[in-house]
Subunit: 155 residues, 2 copies
DNA sequence: TAGACGTAGA
DNA sequence: TCTACGTCTA
């Protein structure tokens, strides 16, 4: 059913439907839903600048998913929840820059959410297409600057 | 066909045959051939001491596979071929201790070999059961002590 | 909590 | 060559 062409896609991925699940990050890469094996934000060069194509919310940063309609997503770099990782100010580059550009462009972004089954098994669930509605910089709980992105479900 | 019981096994794994292939390390973990997702030596506590159960030869250390019958396998720790990794003397613990114990015990050890298909795709191939025939410490090419293990195919 | 022959893409 | 919301076992 999956038809990964190997090329990065903005928007829906053929053969992948909302609610589809994976156990490992590398499976998301294989089916073309999110090519980055570890990074939370995937992006593509489009019209001379990078745009975000998909994000993975796994709980490693301070994300907030209040309901199925909206999500507050923390940018990448230097603000892991894991205390052993060194904290530093996030830069407006790579994934963070891509998400900021996507606010201007209003392009659809695939959201993958890591959660746990009733039996405690970790899994990644495709939640559909979202757009960035807001983006600003704030001070994170670890005292360093973070980029915060607000997204809402595309209807 | 695979029947991973979740328990560590010494010897053949039910449903897995010599020549079986995987694309990712995590698949080896899933089918029970090699539970460690990154470490090259897997082991189990047996009769009060640890014994090696499987090894993965991926070329990250100075391994030598002259033919299908025998392999020279370098122990774990501090001697990656990658120059950016810091070099240090290998210790006789964890996987290295397990392989040394397996020399005494002469228990079968599964060998998985990472190689490349004709199309350049990386893959892990199960090569069968081996026993440790020799084990000693030497000075590696990076100037640090390494444990070297000689294994040969069990007929 | 840390260690370990991981991965793909920029 | 480096980055990155990895992933398992001890």
């Amino acid at each position: 059913r999956f038809v990964n062409t190997g090329k990065q896609i903005i928007g829906p991925v053929p053969g992948v439907e909302v609610g589809d699940e994976c156990k490992y990050r590398v499976e998301l890469t294989i089916i073309g839903l999110h090519r980055q094996t570890r990074a939370g934000i995937d992006f593509v060069m489009h019209g001379g600048r990078i745009l975000a194509t998909s994000i993975v919310a796994s709980g490693s940063y301070e994300d907030k998913i209040s309901n199925e309609m909206s999500i507050i997503y923390t940018g990448q770099g230097g603000n892991y929840m894991l205390p052993r990782k060194k904290a530093y100010d996030q830069k407006l580059k790579r994934g963070n820059l891509a998400l900021k550009n996507s606010l201007d462009e209003q392009n659809p972004i695939r959201l993958i959410h890591r959660l746990y089954s009733s039996d405690g098994q970790r899994k990644y669930v495709y939640k559909g297409l979202f757009v960035v509605t807001k983006c600003f910089r704030k001070r994170g709980t670890r005292g360093k600057l973070v980029w915060e992105f607000h997204l809402r479900l595309l209807l």
